[in-house]
Amino acid sequence: MSDDDSSEDFGPKDEPRASSEFAARALNRLVGEALVATPPDLDWQCIEARLLAGIEAERVAIAPKPRGSFGAAVSFIAVAAAIVLLVTSGRGPSPTAIPSPTRLIDVATLPSVEHGDGGRAQLASALGPGAAIETGAVAERLVLPGVAAFTLAPNSRVVIRAVAIPYVLELERGEVTASVVPRHDPDHVVEAFVVESGGVRVAVHGTVFSVRRSGEKIEVYVSEGVVTVGP
């Protein structure tokens, strides 16, 4: 059969031969049968599993590449109670390389709100990227309504790196313990709160956890829920 369309724009020049009347009727019948033909039974479970795997693979492929030198070798998902991960970092800079200048914030100047069992916490939602918080001999408790509440242990320092979702804190020294409000998205795991320290990124999916930094050693304590630890 020719694939040449050169004469087609001039329209049909002749009608099908009269002897092919039955062929035309047969063709119509074939079309009718093809229209009502039902596909064979398919393995829908297998298709669904492959489809979801394909979607996940595409999602990973378009996600930003890890910025650290750990690569994929150091990536954990920590689940449930009292799991301690010890990660020795050989690097200093934060994975989130936001070159915002830091400015030290006096926590006492932040609004104080009631939080928890009659306690009070400082409202941190007014702070933007680059704000640094240090503690002396006393721990400080801060709250981000709808996102998280976190406690900065004595002699600790954090810098706020991002205030959108996820909210990103860089722990430069000491320890931060956070309780994160779970976010439910049917399609994605939402990282609402992230702590970065010494090249380690702890992404939180609604949990209670601590990150402690002692020099180059990073310790992650998971009390509830799930966190992802990676570069």
Partner: protein, 202 residues
């Protein structure tokens, strides 16, 4: 997961479109999966200007056409295995077998005509798309679509003679035409109404 619900709700529709356009194909599962991957990628672009099923049909058609373009350089298996289908309970086994053989033969002759003609024939006759829609889809004038359709039909009619499963259908139709007509069972009821099973006693 919302997308899983969407997949489960519409997978049969997509499978039917792919099956009509491709015929008994070993790639059916792969193409259905590819359609939904494409749906997942394109879903953010769906503005709700048409019904979702209309949009889904268009995505399915595009994926099938793309698959056929890709597959042109590869050998295509069009012969179906006899055990691939559940028999249709409404037909006797011999009728069901004959129907499946005709369907396979139909897709064999479809694959013998040029891809351009096959595309317009399938989109018009099996997918119910208007020539103007097809013209937009394949990027050619409407008149070209009509012409390709005409030649596709003519070539398919000629090819049927060489297919034993379809030659039998031709003979059957000729015999039906030469046989004396049976008297109408109920001359007061129009045949079209009888065929639709919509008869109601007054």
């Amino acid at each position: 997961m919302a997308f899983t619900k969407l997949f489960r709700a519409h997978r049969s529709l997509v499978a039917a479109v792919v099956y009509r356009m491709m015929g008994p194909s070993a790639d059916l599962e792969d193409i259905v999966q590819e359609v939904f991957l494409q749906v997942h990628r394109s879903l953010p672009d769906f503005r709700g200007q048409s019904k979702f099923t209309t949009w889904l049909h268009r995505v399915s058609v595009n994926v099938v056409l793309m698959q056929r373009r890709r597959a042109r350089s590869r050998p295509v298996l069009v012969e179906e295995e006899a055990g691939n289908h559940e028999p249709d309970a409404r037909l006797r086994p011999d009728q069901d077998l004959a129907r499946r053989r005709r369907l396979s033969a139909f897709h064999r002759i479809l694959d013998k005509i040029s891809e351009k003609k096959r595309t317009v024939f399938v989109l018009h006759e099996l997918e119910g798309m208007a020539p103007a829609e097809i013209a937009t889809e394949v990027g050619c004038p409407v008149l070209t679509v009509r012409t390709r359709l005409f030649y596709a039909r003519r070539e398919l009619c000629e090819l049927m003679v060489d297919e034993p499963a379809l030659a039998g259908l031709l003979e059957e139709l000729e015999l039906e035409a030469s046989a004396p007509r049976k008297p109408e069972a109920s001359p007061t009821v129009p045949a079209a109404v009888v065929n639709r099973g919509a008869i109601r006693e007054p």
